[in-house]
């Protein structure tokens, strides 16, 4: 194969998104250089357990999507839909846990983008990613609807692969955010 699975257009989009996040990651790491104490102090305010659950949720969700793609490659539409729904459920779990985290930081602690540099990065990175999870879920939901209508088959399932590729990117981003923002110090 010369091209990645799914529509090439989504890959151009994925590349653009990856570049933006890469810039944010590098900015985080280099800004931390001059604010080590601040970063270390406020990193400890973050909820490690929530981050663990969320990482597991996204990885599992990504795995379910992989299974959905293999199901449609075997022309098994019903399994494809079921796996995608399971992936969506995992995405929803992520959102719920994340909202719990935000509820604590935003409402209980009253933190905002302007609180300090660490929270600026924490909120920017995670909220931007949070919006991507929602976007990814919207895409997956559209794929589920199409799959349920029987639009995909073993011969033609570019749509499933396109949605899957985007969703894996959402997972991929989190795989870096998790250690960078929550663990590395």
């Amino acid at each position: 194969m010369r091209y990645p699975p799914g529509d090439l257009a989504i890959w151009i989009f994925i590349l653009a998104e990856l570049v933006v996040f890469a810039a944010f990651f590098a900015a985080y790491a280099f800004t931390r250089m001059n604010n080590v104490e601040l970063f270390n102090e406020f990193q400890q305010q973050l909820d490690q357990r929530a981050a663990l659950i969320n990482t597991l949720a996204l990885i599992t969700s990504s795995y379910f999507v992989v299974r959905a793609v293999s199901a449609i490659r075997e022309d098994n539409r019903r399994h494809c839909v079921v796996w995608l729904l399971a992936a969506l459920a995992m995405g929803a779990l992520f959102l719920i846990v994340k909202m719990g985290e935000y509820q604590h930081h935003f409402i209980v602690e009253g933190v905002s983008l302007s609180t300090n540099t660490f929270y600026m990065f924490y909120i920017s990175l995670t909220f931007f990613h949070f919006m991507h999870v929602i976007m990814g879920m919207v895409i997956l939901a559209a794929v589920v609807v199409m799959a349920a209508k029987g639009k995909y088959s073993a011969a033609e399932h570019t749509g499933v692969e396109t949605g899957a590729s985007y969703w894996h990117m959402v997972d991929l981003l989190w795989l870096i955010i998790f250690p960078l923002v929550y663990v590395m110090r």
Partner: protein
């Protein structure tokens, strides 16, 4: 020309070129005032010359966009314009309003103009690029609404192509974001913040949809490449424009009292803004390379390729130069901004308008496909003169800006503004000379419409 009603575009294009000439003349006056401070003082003070320079630019670009819309939308929709008479009527209203406004700038002092037009009822005047009296702004809204209605109805009754939809979306966005020009709070920070919703979201947002649609239309016509291919690239390019450009607005929110975190958001997203311009360059050259036919209108192709290159240089590269907040800290509001503004406006919007005019005018004037060779050669000369002199204007202003930033802001003993201005005088003289060359190019451009009219049309030699 396939549809009779497309001919209304001709009026718009002629007015656009006339205003373009006025814009350049006032640009030269300003350029001279930079070095001969009392030139025309106090008859035409600098601020008046600048208002005329920037406002005629905006108006002639709007004229060109409307002309382009009236030309390409019926052709794409494969139907006559919904109401050609409305288009003609709106043209005269728009021209009269524009003429009256410019005359107002020149004949009255600005404060008298404000009083005369009852600015106190809804104060919107006196903000950069939005200097038009409130009544003119309302006039623009009325004209644009009538225009949108007209082209919207045309699209509704005809074929719905991607180019038409994107053009329409861009023009609707233009109208919607212009509404922010009526919001003028006393709070300066808020005033500036929403002012950018007009200025940035126009030139780095919806105008680029218009640009993209016009470029795609011209490319389809002159290259004969499959519409499907051109349209999908168009979508990708403008998607990237908005993805980077919407949050890219943040590069204006570094130092105007807006919160610090904009420095990160603005820097990161606006650093991506050259990407769509680069894609556009690759796209345009690719399509011309893959062309399925040789179009006799060579000069239209030249303008289209010129747009792709110069927009990338002016908006992409020169924008990137000072878009990162640590750099912008020193360059904000210096001649660097002026350098970027000149090349970006010329490269993106002036050149695409001229590309469209270059493609459409021969057809509007009753030719089969193109102007006679003699006329085209002259227009190519004007292309190179204007483009090369604009490159030099930009380079000289960049030189001036770098020195200015250093002397006034970076060095250990910052000098006062006016002292620095004298230090960089040489660059302003060079810029003015380059400006004169630009004017020569413009004169040739206008002349190209009259040269060789009786000669036979250019044709393509068989390959």
């Amino acid at each position: 020309m396939k549809y009779k009603s497309q001919s209304v575009a001709k009026l718009y294009f002629i007015a656009a070129i006339a205003l373009f000439v006025a814009q350049i003349l006032f640009g030269l006056i300003m350029g001279l005032q930079y070095v001969v401070g009392d030139f025309l003082f106090p008859t035409i003070p600098f601020n008046v010359a600048r208002m005329v320079h920037t406002n005629t630019l905006i108006i002639w670009l709007l004229m060109a966009f409307m002309g382009a819309a009236y030309y390409l939308i019926p052709e794409e929709a494969e139907t006559e314009l919904f109401a050609p008479w409305l288009a003609t009527l709106m043209f005269w209203i728009f021209l009269a309003a524009a003429g009256a406004t410019v005359a107002g700038y020149l004949l009255f002092s600005y404060s008298d103009l404000a009083e005369l037009t009852m600015n106190e009822l809804l104060p919107t005047m006196g903000r950069e690029f939005l200097e038009q009296p409130t009544i003119t702004k309302i006039g623009i809204v009325v004209v644009v609404l009538a225009f949108l209605f007209n082209i919207g109805m045309t699209i509704l009754k005809g074929r719905k192509t991607s180019i038409n939809l994107i053009m329409l979306l861009g023009l609707v966005g233009l109208a919607v974001f212009f509404l922010f020009s009526f919001y003028n709070p006393v709070n300066v920070v808020r005033d500036k913040f929403y002012w950018w919703w007009v200025v940035h979201l126009w030139v780095e947002g919806v105008w680029e949809l218009i640009l993209g649609a016009m470029l795609a239309f011209v490319l389809i016509k002159v290259t004969g490449v499959d519409r499907e291919v051109i349209e999908k690239w168009l979508y990708i390019v403008i998607a990237m424009v908005l993805i980077t450009g919407l949050i890219g607005t943040g590069h204006h929110f570094y130092w105007i009292g807006t919160p610090d975190w904009w420095q990160w958001w603005g820097s990161i997203f606006s650093a991506m803004e050259p990407i769509p311009f680069f894609m556009m360059t690759v796209f345009a050259f690719n399509m011309v390379h893959k062309r399925r036919r040789e179009h006799p209108n060579k000069v239209a192709t030249l303008w289209a390729l010129g747009t792709a290159v110069m927009a990338f240089l002016g908006a992409g590269v020169w924008g990137f130069l000072h878009t990162l907040s640590p750099v912008n800290y020193y360059t904000h509001g210096t001649q660097i901004t002026a350098a970027h503004g000149h090349m970006a406006f010329y490269g993106a919007y002036v050149m695409i308008s001229l590309a469209m005019i270059s493609y459409a005018m021969p057809l509007l004037r009753g030719r089969n496909a193109a102007n006679p060779a003699k006329s085209q050669v002259l227009e190519m000369w004007s292309f190179w003169l204007m483009t090369v002199s604009m490159v030099f204007i930009t380079l000289f202003l960049t030189g001036a800006g770098i020195l200015q930033s250093y002397l006034q802001r970076v060095s250990d003993n910052p000098m006062p503004f006016m002292v620095v201005q004298e230090q960089i005088n040489l660059f302003y003289w060079l810029r003015e000379i380059a400006g004169l060359v630009f004017l020569i190019g413009l004169v040739l451009y206008v002349a190209s419409f009259f040269v060789g009219q009786n000669e036979p049309e250019a044709v393509v030699a068989d390959r």
